[in-house]
Symmetry: C2
Subunit: 161 residues, 2 copies
């Protein structure tokens, strides 16, 4: 492992935030998520985030709301602290893929309405293919996630530093 400083950590965090923006995430939400990932504290408060990211309390409030809605962070009650703490959820990533179901579901419903709205012809063929593909995906994701969990728990701790 390389010896690195706080600057490298910040840069790496911003770099990840950028990649997440490229993947369709909103800027501030991505920066907040990266901050959670890269922090060595177990939980962060809104104030911590505002300082770390150099933005207003208002922005942080909105960003936290978004990331929480994605199911990636959760409120965490810390004894002896009045402030509200947030931490990454243990199963953040696998949960994310369940949440994405609802997004694909919306697409799938629209496609299904399309299938009903067109008569026989090329459009019908395209729409049913699309429907079948996404239906298959939707069905397979839970098993996929489960296999990952099993595989990783079998190897737990092997590569920890």
């Amino acid at each position: 492992m390389t010896v690195t400083g706080e600057t490298d950590r910040r840069e790496a965090a911003e770099s990840l935030a950028l990649a997440l923006v490229g993947a369709g995430m909103q800027r501030m939400a991505a920066r907040a998520l990266a901050a959670f990932l890269f922090s060595d504290k177990e939980s962060l408060t809104a104030g911590d985030l505002a300082e770390e990211l150099g933005v207003s309390a208002g922005s942080v409030s909105g960003a936290i709301k978004m990331v929480a809605q994605m199911g990636l962070i959760e409120r965490s009650f810390v004894a002896g602290s009045r402030r509200e703490h947030f931490r990454m959820r243990d199963n953040a990533w696998t949960t994310l893929y369940s949440r994405q179901h609802s997004i694909i579901d919306d697409v799938l419903s629209a496609v299904e309405r399309g299938v009903d709205a067109v008569g026989a012809g090329p459009a019908y063929g395209r729409l049913t293919y699309m429907r079948d593909f996404y239906t298959y995906l939707l069905n397979e994701v839970p098993a996929l996630v489960e296999r990952f969990e099993e595989q990783r728990s079998g190897r737990r701790g092997e590569s920890r530093p």
Copy 2:
């Protein structure tokens, strides 16, 4: 199957476009893609699209470029026509999931740099878990797509109208 008119088809197309926007796609690209999906022509020209969507030629040009870059449509040479035709690619959806690799790859690289930038501690654990999850996903997608193709080709034509 319900008897439906052109208005229903348009509405269903716009509805799908909306769902795709919700999934992170850009507005005009989503509308263009929906137009391709719902058209009973095998191919469309930029002019066809401009008329169908009621937007300028400039907007259409940009939208086509985006959808083509996603690998969902391709140029199609039509004998006896000077205009440039575009059609949906046969394996548009499965290809899409290969292209998404590059997006996930970007995230994964950023995470990997993060792993190098942090010392032992909570951040290290979070980052390696994230890396492992997305690596697993990346590895599994091709097999998943292949299984879908096999299953569908086995049933080819069964449910065609």
